[in-house]
């Protein structure tokens, strides 16, 4: 539940930085007893101020007089006297370490009552006890997805239904991924492969795969899997219309996965820019190169904000982790 998380606010950061941080928090949410999330509306427990931005610097200086939310300086300069600071640009581990330390300090305060307040009373919701949960529940994810979808439908006349697109390379596991999360027996349109695809599998998707999931508000989330072969690109154009977001899967055991990624970024580029996407790399157990870092570097080079995962599409929780990140991305974009 949202109340079982610590919230991190952002001041003065560029939009893409905020988006990346939000995604990172979402990606790592299952690793903490009480995870962090980007604060969209609720009052944050801590705020990251970009001191290289005059607005961020000014607000950070003002925030020094308050105990809560905890101000974190985000700056390329070393600030040895500042208790909470993060070196800019930040890597994932530095951010995660800082937030772990911050969370631990919150928990110590809870144990060591009374809480010492410098300037103003600490609102009750900012010192919640740690929850014995292991992160987000499925229903939390689907509830957030429903909320994002409602906003999306209000903004996009083409969005007559709530649909997620699963796209990507041949043999990446789109059909399996869809089967893993659909609550109905999926509809497949497979034909016997007559070309080079036969080396990998006997049948290939030629129109679409379709699955469904009922959201907490009773609406249906429709899951569309696209064909992987280049000649079926026209189906992607059709299926993406009004779509909420994209789960892009790349088969790392393919001949040239980075080349394939380039291709799919071209096919789905406009859709990704308009909505959001996560990239799942499959079959890394069969072939470890390129690494996730290679993919991240490749995406960053062309300024794509697409979080990257290694994923086993047969594992429901791994698919849900990707969807959670996608939802976090959509929440940030639509906010």
């Amino acid at each position: 539940m949202a109340s079982a998380k610590y919230r991190l606010g952002f001041v003065g950061l560029q939009e893409h930085e905020t988006l990346i941080f939000s995604c990172l928090l979402s990606i790592h949410s299952n690793k903490w007893p009480k995870p962090w999330e980007a604060s969209a509306n609720g009052s944050p427990h801590a705020v990251l101020y970009d001191l290289s931005n005059p607005e961020g610097l000014r607000e950070w200086q003002q925030a020094q007089s308050h105990a809560q939310p905890v101000p974190i300086a985000y700056t390329p300069d070393a600030l040895p006297d500042v208790r909470w600071s993060l070196k800019k640009p930040s890597d994932t581990s530095a951010l995660i370490d800082l937030l772990k330390e911050l969370a631990a300090s919150f928990e110590k305060k809870i144990d060591a009552a009374p809480i010492v307040v410098v300037d103003q009373p600490v609102p009750v919701q900012q010192v919640e006890s740690p929850q014995p949960t292991t992160g987000n529940t499925d229903s939390d994810l689907w509830g957030r997805l429903a909320a994002v979808a409602e906003r999306h439908q209000a903004a996009d006349a083409d969005a007559k239904e709530i649909k997620l697109i699963l796209g990507g390379s041949i043999g990446a596991g789109k059909t399996t991924a869809l089967r893993t999360i659909s609550e109905i027996p999926p509809i497949h349109t497979e034909a016997r492969a007559s070309d080079i695809v036969r080396r990998m599998k006997s049948e290939t998707t030629v129109a679409m795969d379709y699955g469904e999931f009922t959201l907490p508000n009773g609406k249906k989330l429709r899951l569309y899997g696209t064909p992987g072969q280049v000649r079926y690109e026209f189906m992607s154009d059709i299926l993406c219309r009004g779509g909420l977001g994209l789960v892009l899967l790349i088969n790392n055991a393919g001949d040239n996965p980075l080349h394939e990624l380039t291709h799919y970024l071209r096919v789905y580029g406009d859709f990704i820019k308009k909505t959001g996407a996560v990239l799942g790399i499959t079959h890394m157990d069969q072939k470890s190169a390129p690494s996730l870092h290679d993919y991240e570097t490749y995406l960053a080079r062309d300024k794509w904000t697409v979080p990257v995962f290694s994923v086993d599409v047969r594992q429901r929780e791994q698919i849900l982790a990707m969807l959670e990140t996608l939802v976090a991305q959509l929440e940030t974009r639509k906010a």
């Binding site: 349109t189 007559s194 070309d195 129109a207 679409m208």
Partner: protein, 130 residues
């Protein structure tokens, strides 16, 4: 890959179709996964793209027929403002696609497309799909 001899066989079937059916403007045989094997045209037609799209449509037809427990989908008719397109299963691996700009030619097109598909299937050489 589809052997050249099989492609020639398909072409001969399309030639026969054209001799018998004067409303057909273009016809093609493609694999069920959208690869064009043979074509014949009186009027220009984006045959490769139509083959791919036809395979998607045929697969959707199969999925719908299965959903409704209607058995196998034999034919899909696309009746458009300025023409007709028929998608016909030849067998489990190949599709016959016939295009006509004659809005009144449905009966003739349907009849000849169906018989061509049946005849093509009956006399089909054995194909080593490698």
């Amino acid at each position: 890959m589809i052997p050249q001899s099989v492609k020639v066989y398909f072409y001969s079937q399309l030639q026969e179709l054209f001799q018998n059916c004067d409303v057909v403007d273009a016809a093609m045989v493609s694999t069920l996964d959208g690869r064009l094997c043979a074509e014949k045209q009186r009027a220009e037609c984006a045959s490769e793209r139509v083959s791919v799209m036809g395979s998607s449509l045929m697969a959707l037809g199969d999925a719908i027929a299965k959903e409704l427990a209607h058995g196998v989908c034999d034919i899909i008719i696309s009746e458009n403002a300025d023409g007709l397109v028929l998608f016909n299963h030849i067998n489990d691996d190949f599709v016959l696609i016939c295009v006509s700009s004659s809005k009144n030619g449905l009966g003739s097109l349907l009849s000849w497309a169906r018989s061509t598909a049946q005849k093509t299937a009956e006399n089909m050489p054995k194909i080593p799909m490698t």
